[in-house]
């Protein structure tokens, strides 16, 4: 079986000494955590290792010896081999490296029954990067060992202690005062936030707000959905229990950072918005804009009622549909005019809500747009329903025309013999529907286009996949040395960072693929853009 040794990259240039680390049980591999330099007293080394084992809970042992002889230091080989008698182990690693060469040499001395020294095949891995513990397989065990051996990394070769180490944090440990302060302040803040959130959730789940119509509306308004997501996330972040696994911790950290960025962006927006009475200007342009939209719609309907694009419509149906829609627009405009004195105040308060986060403000904006263009949505629904009915009627009567019938039980088309009067009436109806088709189809087409434009306006979020793990690269090595592999962390792609940052998506494309969408459009089925894609944060 192949022996694998995980060796930190920083110890490449370390001076000769003893290797300290852990054998991973059952996998025939070893993780090297640090190198203890000469000179040392074996008794003190043993004591130190025993102390570290107790503090970190990791099964640390002396793995072997590392020698990188500098000029003038000869005769180390025999000294190193004698060390194996001082630290009795089942297997003793001897890694050595010569100046000017990249690869190591590795010899393994196993102590078997006769005390004979046996050599084995070996494979070396250099590791680099931040650990991330998960489950029970090999690589995560390596990372888990490094994580848990934190007490080992407190001493350094520059410290004035009997034991001088080199390890992966020798280049400098990262720390910051702000982080330490935040750690101290986090617990009381967490408790406070949890208490506020429990109050809020109990209020939300009270009987009054859970009546069916309210539920329906609140599930459609993206603001309410945002609020609920936000509450959920805050609850995750502020729970006083520590993150059990690292992924849990990463998720908490991500949520916290995203919330922080959100709120700061929202505050920026507020400061910009309230500066020069922009709210007033916005309110003053809103009502004329709604008026303008209504006027354009009226012109469009007049055009449809005439001879649009040279097509000849059925006069009566055209007039009916056109007048119906015109009356609808008239109602809508009166409603907007009724609301106009209150618009500025509403906008002012809405702007204040941006302090809860930029995404909240954006969702409010999209809700307002949806409410203001509600009449377009209504037109679309009427047009779509009419068209849908027509298409179904036509298809069924076409089947009758050919002497066939749709068998609901078997979900297929079967032949059927109709009576003469059935055939007569069916043919009449079919002809009527067929000739009325262009008119309905045109109305449907126009309003569907409008609806799609309104729906696509708020923007798109796409979902990407997470990519995280390790990657290996074969280092060029010299013959006679074992295989060297460089192990790097496979970085999270920017897209996956965006995905974990994004808390909810107001997904404006329909849920289905493009082909299904086209099919739905053709048949006249309604397209619902409100379905939210649930984010799977792994």
């Amino acid at each position: 079986m192949v022996l694998k040794i995980f060796f930190p990259q920083c110890c490449n240039k370390a001076d000769s000494g003893l290797l300290v680390g852990r054998w991973i049980p059952g996998q025939n591999s070893a993780v090297v955590l640090a190198v203890i330099h000469y000179p040392f007293i074996p008794g003190q080394v043993k004591q130190y290792i025993h102390q570290m084992r107790g503090q970190s809970g990791v099964d640390l042992t002396v793995l072997g010896s590392w020698s990188m002889p500098k000029e003038g230091q000869e005769g180390m080989e025999s000294f190193l081999r004698d060390l194996s008698t001082i630290f009795p182990q089942g297997q003793w690693l001897q890694l050595s490296r010569e100046m000017g060469k990249i690869g190591f040499r590795c010899h393994i001395l196993t102590r078997d029954q006769n005390g004979k020294l046996v050599q084995q095949e070996k494979e070396l891995k250099e590791e680099n990067g931040v650990p991330d513990p998960q489950t029970e397989s090999q690589l995560p065990q390596v990372f888990g060992t490094v994580c848990q051996s934190e007490p080992l990394f407190f001493l350094d070769k520059y410290d004035d202690s009997p034991v001088k180490l080199t390890h992966w944090q020798s280049e400098g440990r990262e720390g910051s005062i702000i982080v330490e302060l935040m750690k101290q302040a986090s617990t009381p803040v967490c408790l406070l936030t949890t208490w506020i959130l429990t109050l809020w959730t109990s209020l939300c789940s009270s009987r009054i707000l859970n009546v069916r119509p309210m539920r329906f509306i609140s599930s459609k308004l993206s603001t309410c959905v945002q609020l609920s997501y936000r509450t959920e996330h805050l609850q995750t972040v502020s729970s006083p229990t520590r993150a059990s696994t690292h992924t849990h911790f990463m998720r908490k950290a991500n949520i916290f950072v995203s919330f922080f960025v959100d709120v700061s962006l929202g505050l920026l927006l507020i400061s910009w918005l309230y500066r020069e009475n922009r709210i007033g200007k916005l309110a003053n342009t809103l009502v004329p804009a709604a008026d303008h939209v209504a006027k354009e719609l009226e012109e469009l309907l007049q055009w449809l009622m005439g001879a649009p694009a040279g097509l000849k419509m059925n006069r009566a149906l055209d007039q009916v549909l056109g007048r119906f829609f015109l009356y609808h627009i008239h109602l809508w405009i009166s409603y907007i005019h009724l609301m106009s004195p209150f618009i500025e105040m509403i906008l002012w308060y809405v702007g204040l809500s941006a302090c809860l986060g930029l995404t909240f403000a954006l969702s409010l904006l999209s809700d307002i747009t949806a409410l203001l263009t509600f009449h377009i949505y209504c037109f679309y629904v009427y047009g779509a329903r009419l068209y849908c009915l027509k298409v179904y009627g036509l298809s069924s009567l076409w089947r009758l025309f050919r002497g066939k019938k749709w068998n609901v039980l078997r979900q297929r088309v079967d032949s059927c013999s109709y009576d003469l009067d059935q055939l007569f009436i069916g043919t009449l109806l079919f002809t009527i529907l067929l000739f009325l088709l262009p008119t309905t189809a045109l109305y449907y087409l126009v309003f569907t286009m409008l609806r799609l434009v309104v729906v696509m306006f708020p923007g798109i979020f796409r979902s990407y996949r997470l990519a995280e793990g390790v990657k290996f690269r074969v280092l060029c090595e010299e013959p006679g040395t074992p295989l060297h592999l460089m192990m790097d962390i496979n970085p999270l792609k920017v897209s996956s960072v965006i995905q974990t940052y994004r808390t909810t998506t107001y997904s404006c494309y329909p849920k289905d693929s493009w082909l299904a969408l086209c099919k739905k459009l053709f048949l006249g089925e309604l397209i619902y853009p409100w379905r939210h894609k649930t984010t799977k944060i792994d």
Partner: protein, 189 residues
């Protein structure tokens, strides 16, 4: 062949992909239990690029001639450039590599024409086997190499299948070569 020797062999005369385009397979033997296979597809051909660009620009010129709107020309240029950038960064795969390290795992990586690399590493504990599967696609039967993954808690069930060399789609002769080498290494550990 000693341990740690690097053997380098290049054979690109006889391999094609399922559509008949020439591809090349490169096998590197890093050690007794570590092999690397690289399948390179054909590069972006200048002829095709020029044909597409000329077609797009000719259409743009015709539309400009009819409508006298200069925005058409600039939008055609932008579309061509953006389309080319998107194609070489996200779509066109230059070569795909399979690095198998005995008793450690398998690394699958694809490298795109713009230089971007996307890598994935699968541990040996999760790998059940590497097999060649058959698939019926439209009117033909194609072979593909795939890794069968297992859940460590249920070693007998296949939890998922990871297909390899999806962009280069080599034919059976190339796959058999890779398969034999992989099975040698999997048998050892």
């Amino acid at each position: 062949m000693q341990n740690g020797d690097q053997q380098y062999s290049m054979e690109d005369e006889t391999y094609t992909d399922i559509d008949g385009k020439a591809i090349s397979l490169e096998c590197q033997r890093h050690s007794g239990f570590c092999r690397e296979f690289t399948v390179s597809s054909a590069k972006v051909s200048i002829g095709r690029v020029m044909v597409y660009t000329c077609a797009v620009w000719l259409t743009a010129y015709i539309i400009f001639f009819v409508t006298e709107n200069t925005a058409v020309l600039s939008s055609a240029i932008i579309i061509t450039l953006v389309g080319m950038m998107v194609h070489i960064h996200f779509v066109k795969v230059d070569h795909e590599t399979l690095l198998i390290i005995g008793s450690l795992g398998v690394q699958v990586s694809s490298s795109y024409a713009s230089g971007r690399e996307s890598t994935d590493f699968i541990e040996m504990g999760k790998i059940k086997d590497i097999v060649i599967n058959e698939a019926i696609h439209m009117q033909r039967v194609i072979y593909y190499l795939c890794i069968l993954l297992k859940d460590p808690s249920e070693p007998d069930a296949v939890s998922s299948v990871v297909p390899l060399f999806q962009s280069s789609k080599p034919r059976l002769n190339c796959l058999v070569k890779v398969y034999k080498s992989c099975q040698e290494i999997l048998a050892k550990c």
